[in-house]
């Protein structure tokens, strides 16, 4: 299926100050293939792809597409040559419609937008063709992440791109959405397009790609046909050592109840009921998972618990104390830590340095402040400690956090929250964007908190993440908890059915019955 060489990136170098993002990276992509790019957080995948599509300019090296050398640093030129990218952090303008986003930067600035009807028609046509379900006049800010991604993909197709670059497209998708996306990639290739696919999820790479390369420290260190390799080898290539796919953990112990939620209800942004009467307990030494297709009330549940949105009914008790009605700051001062779902919106302040991001919730308390003054030594020591322990790749601790790669930002958020030693930890998407080596490490750290007697609630759309560390898994559907399952991979189908709102009917004999609330 793989044809002739479509594109060659030759010996590309790029540095940001002292950080070397590309150190002589070279890749070759063939016509009509799905080419996967793997690598640890900060290996330089996003930077290399941004150079390819003209958003960044390389210090050295060249890019040859169909025998023609690309003019560096020109997004228009890349688009003219049929190269388009769906970025890791989307490039959609939230308060414009889908169609307006598509015509942004197209044609003469003096053009009157009288052709929007035709644009919309074309979007509908393409959307039908690829089964993407994109509505041209929807406002982007009203779309879910999964929908926004379909909008981004269709945008690239709309611009007539035939080399499509997807930077960690599945990091924010539900398993169902991921399946649809991988199918779509197959359809695109069948349609004569070529795809470069970045992911941290080895099973996806194995399932969908024709060839795969591994990047480490800004260089491509390994390239092979996907059929000639296996996940274990890829993981070793990425991390430089064997990665544990199963984490050892101590048997569940029953501690006393730390967090108790009763009949909690709250509304979404539009004022419609999103959580409709949820009750559960989380005990010491326990990790409770909440599984569900995104958009079933998980975000709202997390917001209500952390005080960022008001609950309309019910109670949340932490060590017996009512949290409902407290401000986020007050909840923060209790023994409550929160790894939010969207790190850019709620987890970090992008232009601030690592040091200030690390003390966001605690800047005014010892050891970081004394007599109303910040103690920068304590702040720096603490930041340095977290950066070292969690292997956050950063040039220095005083650089703006936005210069870190996506996975490294996430690692720092998790590190910050774990370091607060809370009694209760609310985690909404633990490993979003984190590479497998770091994932193993982060999960182990969370397990350590469990052994240390903390109560943890892990909301996730990644079943693998839940299976790996949870003691029990609650399934949420349309704002209600409709069942509880043990973290047993062999019962994946049952969980899948619950997540789709269906009662699992065929129960294998001998297995523990599903407890339906």
């Amino acid at each position: 299926m793989a044809g002739q060489t479509l594109l060659r990136i030759e010996n590309v170098h790029k540095r940001f100050g002292a950080v070397i993002a590309s150190a002589g990276a070279s890749i070759e992509v063939r016509e009509g293939e799905i080419y996967a790019l793997l690598g640890e957080n900060g290996a330089g995948k996003s930077v290399l792809m941004s150079i390819l599509c003209g958003v960044l300019t390389a210090d050295e090296g060249r890019i040859v597409c169909r025998g023609v050398e690309l003019q560096p640093g020109s997004p228009e030129e890349a688009v003219r040559r049929g190269i388009g990218m769906v970025h890791q952090h989307f490039m959609l303008v939230p308060n414009l419609t889908v169609a307006e986003n598509y015509v942004l930067g197209q044609g003469s600035p003096l053009r009157v937008l009288s052709h929007m009807k035709a644009v919309s028609a074309r979007i509908r046509e393409l959307s039908d063709k690829y089964g993407l379900d994109v509505r041209p006049d929807a406002l982007v800010r009203n779309l879910s992440v999964g929908e926004q991604q379909r909008v981004e993909i269709l945008k690239v197709l709309y611009h007539g791109i035939d080399l499509l670059i997807l930077d960690e497209p599945t990091a924010v998708l539900t398993p169902q959405e991921t399946d649809r996306l991988l199918e779509l990639l197959r359809d695109l290739v069948a349609d004569g397009k070529t795809v470069i696919f970045i992911s941290h999820k080895l099973d996806e790479v194995m399932r969908v790609s024709d060839r795969v390369s591994v990047m480490r420290d800004g260089k491509v260190v390994f390239t092979t046909d996907t059929s000639a390799t296996n996940p274990r080898e890829l993981a070793r290539m990425m991390v430089g050592r064997d990665v544990l796919m199963e984490l050892p953990r101590e048997a569940a112990r029953q501690g006393e109840i730390v967090l108790s939620v009763r009949d909690l209800a709250c509304n979404n942004e539009l004022g419609l009921p999103a959580v409709r009467g949820v009750s559960f307990d989380v005990r010491r030494n326990e990790i409770v998972g909440i599984a569900g297709v995104s958009g079933n009330g998980q975000s709202e549940l997390a917001l209500a618990m952390s005080g960022l949105a008001p609950a309309t009914a019910g109670s949340i008790r932490l060590n017996g104390e009512e949290l409902c009605g407290l401000s986020p700051a007050a909840i923060n001062r209790r023994s409550f830590a929160h790894v939010p779902e969207d790190r850019h919106k709620m987890g970090i302040v992008l232009p601030l340095p690592l040091t200030e991001n690390v003390i966001l919730q605690r800047y005014n308390r010892p050891p970081f402040s004394a007599r109303g003054l910040l103690r920068s030594r304590a702040v720096e020591d603490h930041t340095r400690d977290l950066v070292q322990r969690f292997k956050v790749k950063a040039r220095d601790i005083d650089v703006p956090i936005q210069t870190l790669s996506g996975g490294n930002q996430q690692k720092l958020v998790v590190a910050r929250e774990l370091a607060r030693h809370p009694d209760f930890l609310l985690i909404n998407q633990l490993t979003r964007g984190i590479d497998i080596g770091a994932m193993e490490f982060v999960m182990q750290e969370v397990l350590k908190q469990r052994e240390a007697g903390k109560a943890i609630l892990l909301i996730s759309t990644e079943l693998e993440e839940l299976f790996a560390i949870c003691d029990r898994i609650l399934v949420i559907y349309e704002g209600r908890i409709i069942g509880e399952m043990p973290p047993d991979r062999s019962r994946l189908d049952e969980i899948g059915l619950l997540m789709a709102g269906k009662e699992p009917s065929a129960r294998s004999a001998g297995s523990e019955p599903v407890r339906v609330h």
Binding site: S74, P75, E76, V93, G105, L113
Partner: protein
């Protein structure tokens, strides 16, 4: 007291409202363009003052009214260029650059006025009122509303024109995107800086025109600091109008009404309120208005934030 409740009083107030709102309409709609691109230009006051002075000076020297208005606009653009150079190219803090422009406007115009024009003491010919046939004959309302100068009438065209520019052209679309998500525009291959320059120059040109209106259509003289806060009121108007050109038109009229009432009531012998209290009305209204707008959700996401390319 009875005078106040007459139709005549009402009609004159409405006419004066429109006339007094005109400079604020120009400045605020210009600022809408600038802020939609993410640039907060608090230098409006200084730019208006420069426009007022340069317009007056040109008129005094040449006696050519259209040329004087053109000069007012161009001087606004020039001041905007200085602002843009510091705020966009050099990426200095926009508030500080704006404040500097205000000081520059006040200082420079006062200095030049005292040096060259203070002894002249005479006024210039101002824009004549244009009588709209038939309409100006309407009883009570005809004369106050439909005997205005051309600039006052032109404020009716400004919201649709700027609205069309912002919402119906590729330029406007990109400009709004620049204020919300500049990186997306950068990635789409358009220069964020260029669009911001464009937006600031349009905004400061209109502020210059608003200033020129003060000396060339409202008073016939330049007075030091004569904008007396209109630039700042225009900034408040933009917030109150939620960054909408049409909204700015109507909110400006609201503020114009306070100016008009203040003048009308001062001229009313039966009312015993100290004139200072009346003069404070537009400013009090501004404070109240800003307190009322608590929801800043509509503000362009990157308002006031310089854009750095990776």
């Amino acid at each position: 007291m009875e005078h106040i409740l007459t139709l005549g009083f009402l009609a004159t107030t409405i006419g004066a409202t429109w006339r007094l709102a005109t400079p604020i309409i120009f400045a605020s709609i210009g600022e809408v363009v600038s802020e939609r691109a993410g640039v907060l230009n608090i230098g409006l006051e200084g730019i208006m003052l420069i426009g007022a002075f340069v317009g007056f000076w040109t008129m005094y020297e040449t006696g050519h009214l259209p040329l004087a208005f053109l000069a007012a606009v161009l001087s606004g653009v020039a001041a905007g260029l200085v602002f843009a150079l510091f705020a966009i190219t050099i990426k200095a803090n926009q508030i500080i650059v704006g404040a500097a422009i205000n000081l520059l406007g006040l200082g420079l115009t006062s200095f030049l006025f005292r040096t060259y024009l203070v002894h002249t003491g005479q006024g210039v010919r101002i824009a004549p009122a244009i009588d709209i046939p038939l309409l100006s004959g309407i009883p009570y309302f005809g004369a106050p509303l439909f005997k205005q100068n051309l600039l006052v009438y032109s404020t009716l065209l400004l919201p649709p024109i700027v609205g069309f520019l912002l919402y119906r052209t590729s330029f406007g679309l990109t400009l709004r995107a620049v204020g919300e998500h500049p990186k997306a525009v950068d990635v789409a291959g358009r220069s964020v800086a260029l669009y911001r320059y464009g937006a600031v120059l349009i905004g400061s040109g209109l502020a210059g025109l608003g200033g020129g209106y003060l000396t060339l259509a409202h008073a016939n003289q330049f007075v030091e600091g004569m904008t007396s806060g209109r630039g700042f009121i225009a900034l408040a108007v933009v917030v109150f109008a939620r960054w909408s050109p049409a909204g700015s038109f109507f909110v400006s009229l609201l503020f114009g009404m306070f100016y008009a009432l203040q003048l009308q009531l001062q001229a009313e012998p039966s009312i015993h309120i100290p004139y200072q209290a009346l003069q404070a009305m537009p400013y009090l209204a501004t404070i109240v208005a800003l307190l009322l707008v608590r929801n800043r959700m509509d503000a362009p996401a990157t308002l006031g934030v310089p854009y750095r390319k990776a």
